[in-house]
């Protein structure tokens, strides 16, 4: 695992704490945006080989809605905001008040996609800025892009720069959900090295 060989449990704990802080900020942002109570659970931090990565995050060919940002700066990486289709539809309907919004068959409503992109951007932005505050590192996120497709296809794309130097990714898994609902709404995943 070359680059990640020196990684100790202690380091994973630090990453977990960073993920925690980031998720708390993202949850606050989402809560304000939706005017709803949002729960956040403690993230797990894992070292996962590429072989297993897509399956670890659910089925590799499961359809998801995703926002992807490239992060440049002191610690370049990829940041994903990945949401299940049903959760994304509910989120967009809530924000735009467009009850007919669907992600089942394209073309998707442009206004809805734009709203989804914006929500993803706000969440990723608040996650990233708390990460920057905590680590005193500079991050420059790219303009976000949206894709509704297979989870594995989307994830592998973000893994490309990382795949040149290793076969493992650090997954900081964060779950944010609307209170009193059991199905998961979304989970941002960031892989930084």
């Amino acid at each position: 695992m070359d680059l990640l060989k020196g990684l100790k449990p202690y380091h994973l704990d630090v990453l977990k704490e960073i993920g925690n802080i980031g998720a708390a900020h993202a949850a606050t942002a989402l809560s304000q945006l939706l005017n709803k109570k949002i729960d956040m659970n403690v993230p797990s931090v894992r070292l996962v080989s590429f072989h297993d990565l897509p399956e670890q995050l659910g089925e590799a060919d499961a359809k998801v809605a995703a926002i992807f940002l490239r992060v440049e700066g002191d610690a370049p990486g990829s940041m994903f905001f990945i949401a299940q289709i049903e959760g994304s539809e509910r989120l967009v309907k809530h924000v735009t008040k467009r009850a007919e919004f669907q992600l089942d068959t394209p073309p998707y409503d442009e206004m809805g996609i734009s709203a989804f992109l914006e929500v993803g951007n706000i969440l990723a932005g608040s996650y990233l800025s708390s990460l920057a505050d905590f680590t005193k590192l500079s991050f420059y996120p790219s303009v976000p892009e949206v894709s509704v497709d297979m989870a594995g296809a989307i994830l592998s794309y973000g893994l490309l720069p990382l795949s040149q130097v290793g076969d493992y990714a650090i997954v900081i898994d964060t779950m944010i959900r609307e209170r009193l609902r059991t199905n998961k709404l979304k989970r941002p995943i960031s892989s930084f090295t």
């Binding site: 070359d2 680059l3 590429f50 072989h51 297993d52 990565l53 897509p54 399956e55 089925e59 590799a60 060919d61 359809k63 992807f68 490239r70 068959t105 394209p106 790219s142 892009e145 894709s147 509704v148 497709d149 297979m150 989870a151 594995g152 296809a153 989307i154 994830l155 592998s156 794309y157 893994l159 490309l160 720069p161 795949s163 040149q164 130097v165 290793g166 076969d167």
Partner: protein, 163 residues
């Protein structure tokens, strides 16, 4: 009757015979390469991520990750399992552009480069490419049946095709 589906992960390759089908899920800019012997009914599948091992920055190389190293390794594995060198054929799928970043970063346009690298290597190794479904913007899940020699390709919005 197919007993089991052999799953090929990202940056991975495996072999299947008539008892199995072989599948890889969620190909984005990666390319899925199937090389098979249509007389002996044996097939191998690789899921490559990058075009050339020249991009490798590790000490130890994972040959299944790169087009230029995965194809020779896959052929060798097929020959070890009884395939004959001169009846091998190939089918490929993948190499999509999942996001359309305007940045000059070459890595973000990896899909087409992967496809080119795969085709180049297949030609160099003199393996005829009999079918392909590459490019576009959609992720693909592919499954190959060594019996029928058909490659099934599924996308989330355009249904399923066979090549």
């Amino acid at each position: 009757m197919n007993a089991t589906v052999i799953k090929v992960g990202m940056a991975d390759f495996k072999i299947a015979t008539t008892l199995n089908t072989i599948r890889t899920s969620g190909l984005g800019s990666c390319v899925g390469i199937v090389i098979y012997d249509d007389r002996k009914l044996i097939a191998g599948m690789a899921h490559i991520m990058l075009p050339t091992s020249g991009l490798n920055k590790q000490e130890k190389i994972n040959v299944a990750k790169y087009a230029d190293t995965a194809i020779p390794a896959l052929i060798q594995r097929l020959l070890q399992n009884g395939a004959s060198r001169f009846t091998l054929k190939a089918k490929i799928a993948g190499g999509a552009q999942m996001f359309s970043f305007s940045t000059g970063n070459d890595l973000m346009r990896i899909g087409p480069r992967n496809v080119d690298a795969v085709k180049e290597k297949l030609e160099e190794m003199r393996i005829p490419l009999v079918a392909e479904d590459v490019g576009g913007k959609s992720g693909r899940t592919i499954e190959f049946d060594p019996n029928s020699q058909l490659l099934q390709i599924r996308t989330v919005n355009k249904g399923t095709i066979h090549i």
